[in-house]
Symmetry: C2
Subunit: 352 residues, 2 copies
DNA sequence: CTGAAAGCGCTTACAG
DNA sequence: CTGAAAGCGCTTACAG
């Protein structure tokens, strides 16, 4: 079946193709009667503008690309473990795209391979996306960020971990989420709560630390200096910090590690010390990483609202709200809502 | 950054754009020296052909589209249950696409809504995909099939259930898989094995039935006529059939239901009769549906190898092996390998 | 083996 | 408010 083009519609409606173009793009300066005539003709002929032609002629490609790590996806899939990035991104981004006449290419990227630069570079050249949604670890990949900037493509970085510049950085409200998790531990009955901070270079670390301290203070609880431990977001640093905390004379009844990897380190340290989680000690993490769902016990944590974030990212991109040289954190009121996920690693404190 | 075009490469190499085009598309009739010169220029400039331009000028769009059900995806995601279609399709189809310079649009389709026809139709008009991969329930949706045929788009139907015509139909080897599951039950020690057949209109039903009978015969086992029950692939029909089987004087020790829904019906009937699965009775299904993974007990079943099927589908499509008017079952040697997934619902028969 | 011309189906920039 | 011309970056069909 020969496809119907803008010329067919123009003929059918008795106008020029430019007028058809105006109507299809909802541009101003068309008389209502003309507009309706054209719309009717398009409807009757079943006309939809060819994406390639629009893309080639115009300044927009009507294409968004999301970068997702190939290895991570493969791992998620083959281990048959719950939630995965791909579906969440797709679900979140699809609706805003559809509403704006956009289409989404979800590209699996082989991070940390020699050919990645070449792959990403030709992806951008071939697709010319109007915007790119980066998910971890793309969000923090210097080569990706570099290529994106050079190509002048607007991009949104979801849940970036490192304080690299560039793009619209979108993450949950770390401060508020940490405060809420702290409050949840307090509500369980805990009073002696320790905190393991992350790599201090990252804004997220500071924000989570602040959230913890604020919540404690707000509830009228004191924080012993020895309960504030430094970590660097690694399992090992969580393990070491937990060891120190467990050895304390005035041992805390709960540890809030400011990411899941460190919280998993706490579980290991507790196990080594013969402590039962959660009856002897509660442990909470942050991120809702895959590991948190399959540790023993499973970890109470804070979930990054990836679906909502992908939606907000797509919306910002299709609305042209992200300039090519953007280098800002998303405004606080754009912070998507987070969720506390309380699993097996937290419980009321042991009776004194 | 102004992007580099075919003209830049032509200038750099001192040839015409047509020659550059030949080299980029690996066409014949270019002197090796010229070819190298052009390749070097493209490399040096970081040139990648613009997909829109190729698509608009040429007969191919270099785009494949996969249709996935929106509601199903949403359900999979929000229930936080393992495997999902989306990831499997993406993983399977990505590699063949990449190798052929193709890109994949994964489109979420709202099946069974009034606007579906319009949506799919404009999708095809806008994207002009060179091929479409259909997953259930798109594989059996008459409107989708109709639109695809009218548009002249080659398509592959993954795991189609109904005997509607059209496309390249790709499914696992039902006969072989049923035989293998039967063999697995026999290997567990079962001799009295019942079978619940599906809707006889479907080829798959007949094939599974044959596979069962063949395996029983090959192992020298007899099949009582009362052990062969008719079902129609619904939960209810499985429930009813299982009731009849359980009431038999010579009750079978295992029931092989030829799809998961019917097998789940068997579980319900067994529960009603106070039988313990698997100690009193083994039950096996077919499909590896989501339900099979979360029933109590979890169901032993046959997995549709969706990743491999998506891969084979993408390969056939990008290689142009699927004519627009294709209406055939994939050749038996193209049947992707299946896997038996033995879970909690099967065990050795009770000691007599 | 190589290239000049035409055209894919739109949007842009401009004119009226 | 509407339209005629030019051009986006390629491939096709043809010529040499």
């Amino acid at each position: 079946m020969a496809s119907v083009t803008i010329y067919d519609v123009a003929n059918h409606a008795g106008v020029s193709i430019k007028t058809v173009s105006r109507v299809m793009n909802a541009e101003p300066n068309v008389r209502p009667a003309t507009r309706e005539k054209v719309a009717a003709a398009a409807e009757a002929l079943g006309y939809s503008p060819n994406l390639s032609a629009r893309s080639l002629a115009g300044s927009k490609s009507f294409v968004l690309t999301a970068f997702v790590d190939a290895a991570l996806t493969l791992d998620h899939w083959s281990s048959e473990r719950g939630t995965d990035y791909l579906t969440r991104i797709q679900l979140g981004a699809t609706l805003p795209c559809r509403e704006a006449g956009y289409h989404l290419f979800l590209e699996l990227i082989d991070h940390d391979t020699p050919r990645m630069r070449q792959e990403v570079s030709s992806l951008l050249a071939a697709l010319k996306p109007d915007g790119v949604i980066l998910t971890p670890p793309s969000s923090d990949n210097e080569i990706v960020l570099d290529l994106l900037k050079k190509s002048g493509t607007p991009f949104v970085r979801l849940a970036p971990e490192r304080s690299l510049p560039g793009g619209l950085r979108m993450r949950l409200d770390d401060r508020g989420a940490a405060a809420r998790m702290t409050k949840a531990l307090i509500d369980l009955g805990h009073r002696r709560i320790a905190f393991i901070a992350g790599e201090p270079r990252y804004g997220a670390s500071r924000a989570r630390r602040e959230g913890f301290l604020t919540a404690m203070t707000d509830q009228g609880l004191t924080v012993e200096p020895t309960w504030m431990q430094d970590g660097d977001f690694t399992f090992q640093s969580g393990f070491d910090a937990a060891r120190r905390l467990i050895g304390l004379r005035e041992r805390p009844t709960a540890i809030f590690a400011s990411n899941d990897d460190m919280a998993l380190g706490c579980l290991a340290a507790a196990s080594e010390a013969g402590l039962n989680i959660p009856t002897d000690l509660s442990v909470a993490g942050f991120d809702d990483s895959t590991g948190s769902r399959f540790s023993r016990p499973t970890l109470s944590t804070v979930r990054q609202p990836l679906v909502e974030m992908a939606g907000a990212a797509a919306r910002a991109l299709v609305n042209g709200q992200v300039p090519a040289d953007c280098d800002t954190d998303a405004a606080p009121d754009q912070f998507p809502p987070f969720h506390l996920v309380m699993r097996q690693s937290t419980a009321p404190p042991p009776k004194a």
